[in-house]
């Protein structure tokens, strides 16, 4: 299952036409202790670059952007009680939402892991 990364530190796993979105380990490290996650509702229509999700840490609230366009199918309900999953398991159990892609072609503008690692190394 291919995984893509954005310059805003989101990742998206793509399985057929469904994508699972989260923030990277680098991102959670920068944010620090996460205390609340505002998630989109199923059915919400997103354009690439929309901010359907907000991650609250002790010091700041940060938008999470949609890496690609699509319709939200599911949000990670476990985060309501355990927002700290985004800190402890950001790239698996701390996923944020799933969406059905409306334009798989948008994926070509994203980075693979090697490109993202090189990008972060420059920050």
């Amino acid at each position: 299952m291919p995984r893509y990364y954005t310059q805003d530190h989101e990742w998206i796993d793509v399985d057929g036409d469904v994508g699972t979105v989260g923030i990277t380990d680098y991102a959670q490290g920068q944010l620090g202790d996460i205390t609340f996650v505002e998630l989109p509702e199923a059915g919400a229509t997103l354009a690439k670059g929309d901010a359907p999700c907000v991650v609250d840490s002790v010091k700041a609230a940060s938008d999470v952007y949609a890496p690609v366009s699509g319709t939200v199918t599911e949000a990670n309900g476990a985060l309501a009680d355990e927002p700290e999953l985004v800190n402890t398991d950001p790239e698996a159990g701390g996923w944020l939402f799933r969406l059905s892609l409306s334009d798989a072609g948008e994926l070509s503008g994203l980075m693979d892991r090697a490109a993202y690692d090189a990008y972060v190394a420059e920050l």
Binding site: D8, L31, A60
Partner: protein, 379 residues
């Protein structure tokens, strides 16, 4: 992903950001440095929540060397200080810090500060971001005979928490035992052979100490304190969450030239004789507010759920905006969000149900008596 409501995150190449005596020490100890009050300062080490809990259960070491340490002396210094501060120096015993405020002519708050009578003059600790303006204000309003010295060669550390006494007592020496100090008392001591000034005071609501020391000894003394099992280094992030839980206002956020001491619920800092006599900058406004009350007041707000509301968020009663947040965040000790706000006086009573608007949503909140977390001072 991007930070949209961030606090004071600095840019790496800003040339005007200054370094403090412990800059290299913080970096060596893993502090994440951000720009704050014109200096590079550690916002966190292992993580804000862990540092917060450590301070409430053990002892946290805070570097607050960005704050302005001032020394005022000279013929007539008492009368000169009373002309600019609403403080009664006749009741201020030596070596006992007292909270006061710098006010402008209209009674707006220019800064809040601590005043201590030393042997021949007064030691003031003012906020870092305001210290240059404070010096200009004091210089403008103090007679020429009064010398005002910025103690630039002094660093300032705070050791805070229920085990702060045990840790500091083990390493401090002096003519009196550390136990002679109760809350808001201070004295001269030695740490690692260096002369230091210690007061039993702080900004966390916990028992603890503030230590003024020679800058060149700062790393040695920080190492000595951190070598005690009870002590860990704490960053600005936890300093903010701790003071918010303790209900202590932060200048530039909860206090500003737009707020008066009575609106800020700091009437205790207008000392009794000064209420009767006036004669300080801003007295007209302050005495009027005391006599007539104010239209709004600084209050605590406790939120339900986990979503935090932050500075600038509007406070509503039904459809009417009745106030605005000046501080807000998640309380690690209480595990729900808390805030400070100025609200219209008719909504300032504890228990009043209000709503806070965050990103288009209304979050329920309730006016709560301050502090949110009880103070544990050693009185």
């Amino acid at each position: 992903m991007s930070d949209t409501y961030d606090i004071d995150e600095g840019l790496a190449e800003e040339p005007e950001v200054l370094t403090l005596p412990l800059d290299a020490w913080h970096r060596a100890h893993g502090g994440r440095m951000v720009e704050f009050a014109g200096y590079w300062m550690p916002v966190q080490y292992e993580g804000i929540i862990a540092e917060h809990h450590w301070t409430r259960s053990h002892a946290g070491l805070f570097d607050v060397s960005h704050m302005g340490q001032l020394y005022l002396a000279g013929e007539g210094v008492e009368a000169a200080l009373e002309a600019v501060l609403p403080i009664d120096l006749a009741t201020l015993k030596p070596f006992a810090p007292r909270y006061s405020m710098l006010l402008d002519e209209d009674g707006g708050i220019l800064d809040d500060l601590m005043v201590t009578r030393w042997r021949t003059g007064f030691y003031l600790v003012v906020n870092g971001a305001t210290k240059w303006d404070d010096i200009a204000h004091l210089r403008e309003h103090l007679p020429d005979e009064i010398t005002l010295t910025l103690l630039e060669d002094n660093a300032l550390l705070a050791l805070q928490g229920p085990q702060a006494f045990a840790a500091l007592d083990r390493v401090v020496t002096g003519d009196q035992p550390l136990s002679a100090l109760t809350f808001m008392k201070g004295g001269e001591f030695k740490l690692a052979g260096h002369d230091v000034w210690i007061s039993r005071s702080g900004y966390t609501g916990e028992d603890g100490f503030e230590i003024s020391l020679p800058a060149e000894a700062a790393a040695e003394i920080a190492d000595l304190l951190c070598a005690q099992d009870e002590v860990r280094t704490i960053g600005l992030g936890a300093r903010d969450s701790l003071r918010l839980e303790a209900g202590l206002p932060l200048y530039g956020h909860d206090l500003s030239p737009e707020t008066s001491p009575i609106e800020a619920d700091l009437a205790f800092a207008i000392n009794k004789r000064r209420r009767a006599e006036g004669g300080f900058l801003g007295a007209e406004r302050v005495l009027r507010d005391l006599a007539e009350g104010t239209g709004r007041k600084r209050v605590g707000l406790a939120l339900e759920g986990r979503q935090a509301a932050r500075e600038g968020a509007a406070v509503f009663a039904e459809n009417e905006q009745v106030g605005e947040l000046t501080s807000g965040g998640f309380s690690p000790s209480l595990e729900h969000p808390i805030a400070m706000a100025y609200v219209a006086i008719e909504y300032a009573g504890p228990g009043t149900a209000l709503e806070i608007e965050v990103r288009g949503k209304r979050l329920p909140a309730r006016v709560t008596a301050l502090p949110f977390v009880p103070h544990r001072y050693h009185r």
